[in-house]
């Protein structure tokens, strides 16, 4: 009996957490379509999440594209398939690496920032103050962040796709002696609209996950500075895991023949 007790208790805690998260997500989505709308807050978040994430996402994509070209060249040269470098770089970046790596980098940057900000507001009673000022905290704090992240991530991934392919192009043409025009032609001919749009749809889902996990962990943080620190860590870890897991399921849905 003693062995079963902690298992049961853990199961209850996990179920309660899942229920609370589902409720929170539903509340965020419902409030997204119900007025009032805080457009000014959405614009602020677009700037903070999107514009300021551009350097980190751009650099990640550039180096990933470069290293992808290098590794594919080394691997494919074993069976004389070097001609596929451009195709595989484009496919890998647009379908998987662009959205996933941009999602993970933004999760580290934005999810942590949201959790810390909202968590601090929670422990300093600023969220209670919003309630006393007849303002729904979910509408004022959560919805703008969720909306901004859903808009931002596809835009960031579109930029990451271009820079990632550029990274592959630079390495291929500067280090591996590929002909630039052949490389570009090969990329354009091979890539399909579905490859790009699937990545952008994934990015929108990742944006929702990033904002949701940051907001959820911050909103329910407790216990002062330590609680805010814990919320920040949990936000990044949970957002990263959900991004990787949801990516697998979306890939299964999009590309299962």
């Amino acid at each position: 009996m003693n062995i079963l007790q902690p298992i049961g208790r853990t199961a209850l805690v996990v179920c309660a957490l899942a229920g609370r998260l589902a409720n929170f997500a539903a509340s965020a989505l419902i409030n997204t379509v119900q007025p009032p709308f805080y457009w000014r807050a959405v614009l602020q978040q677009l700037l903070r999440m999107g514009y300021y994430s551009l350097p980190v996402v751009g650099l990640t994509a550039l180096f990933t594209g470069g290293v992808l070209a290098l590794q594919i060249y080394i691997g494919s040269s074993r069976f004389n398939a070097e001609n596929f470098v451009a195709n595989i770089v484009a496919l890998g970046i647009t379908r998987e690496l662009g959205p996933v790596l941009a999602g993970l980098m933004v999760a580290g940057r934005v999810s942590a920032s949201i959790a810390a900000e909202i968590g601090t507001m929670r422990v300093t009673e600023q969220i209670d103050a919003l309630t006393t000022l007849s303002t729904n905290p979910v509408k004022y704090l959560i919805v703008p962040r969720v909306v901004a992240a859903i808009i931002c991530l596809p835009l960031l991934v579109a930029v990451a796709d271009i820079i990632g392919i550029l990274g592959g192009f630079l390495v291929a043409t500067q280090s591996l002696d590929f002909n630039p025009s052949v490389y570009i032609r090969s990329t354009i001919d091979f890539i399909e609209v579905g490859d790009v749009t699937s990545g952008l749809i994934k990015a929108a889902v990742f944006g929702f996950i990033i904002a949701l996990m940051g907001c959820f962990n911050g909103y329910y943080s407790e216990g002062g500075a330590q609680g805010v620190g814990r919320a920040t860590t949990n936000a990044v870890v949970s957002a990263s895991i959900f991004i990787l897991a949801s990516n697998y399921f979306m890939t299964t849905i999009f590309f299962s023949e």
Binding site: D128, T131, T132, L133, S134, T135
Partner: protein
């Protein structure tokens, strides 16, 4: 019929096996200033949060203007909350907004007042709590504790509420600044004609701002009466608390 603005009847609230409020009953007459005194962890803040709807009581009723607010949600709750202003213990100013937007937050978001007009009202409110126009553009982080409390008070009165709550209004302030805050509270509340409920363990503050004082102990009101009667309450718990004695019926669990 009694003219009570706020009526709490048999309010109970537990967190796990910790019973914070245990059938608390308290009536607050319209236009009066009631101060609830009590030690740390006796349920003062939970009582305030229950009235505001931030905490949902397990049992009992809370009526504002004879309307039970424990069952309200959405627009009905917002309507009730629009009657209320609150000064938080740590001021709870929004870090991301300048002082004037903090003060006029309820006007802009709650009442749809235009930003230009709201800024003028904010400067007027800041003047009422003894702060100059130059403070309006500062960030809350640039203010001292006393100034933050005054900005919090300006925010609480900016919407001309019928009810104002003060959560430990003088905690963390030096005695002179605490007295300044007490004076401001008395002046502004008289000007508004509002009903106020304050919670504090600062007896100097309680004596200054209260018409009535109630003592909370173990989640219940153990004594309530006119502020002038507090020294002759005949209640051992109240006597021990107001004189700050370690010996008495209130036992503090200290492990030596």
């Amino acid at each position: 019929m009694n003219d009570y603005k706020i009526e709490l009847s048999g309010v109970s609230k537990s967190f796990g096996d910790k019973h914070v409020l245990q059938g608390l009953t308290l009536n607050i007459p319209t236009g009066s200033s009631v101060v609830v005194i009590g030690g740390s962890g006796t349920g003062k803040s939970v009582m305030l949060k229950s009235i505001l709807g931030i905490v949902k009581p397990d049992a009992g009723s809370i009526r504002i203007d004879r309307q039970d607010v424990t069952k309200l949600s959405g627009k009905d709750r917002s309507k009730v909350l629009s009657k209320i202003g609150m000064l938080f213990q740590g001021a709870a100013l929004f870090d991301s907004l300048p002082v004037w937007q903090n003060v006029s937050f309820g006007l802009i978001q709650g009442q749809g007042v235009k930003r230009k007009e709201a800024r003028e009202v904010a400067i007027e409110m800041l003047a009422k709590v003894g702060l100059g126009k130059d403070v309006a553009s500062l960030s809350p982080a640039e203010l001292s504790g006393g100034m933050q409390k005054r900005v919090g008070l300006a925010r609480a009165i900016a919407t001309h509420p019928e009810i104002i709550f003060f959560d430990e209004p003088t905690t963390g302030l030096d005695p002179i600044m605490a007295d300044v805050i007490n004076d401001l509270i008395v002046e502004r509340v008289q000007e508004l004609g509002a009903t106020t409920l304050s919670i504090t363990h600062d007896m100097a503050s309680a004596r200054k701002i209260a018409d009535y004082i109630a003592m909370i102990y173990h989640g219940k009101i153990v004594w309530a009466g006119a502020a002038s009667d507090i020294d002759n309450s005949g209640n051992e718990v109240v006597d021990q608390f107001i004189h700050g004695r370690a010996d008495g019926p209130i036992e503090i669990d200290i492990k030596r």
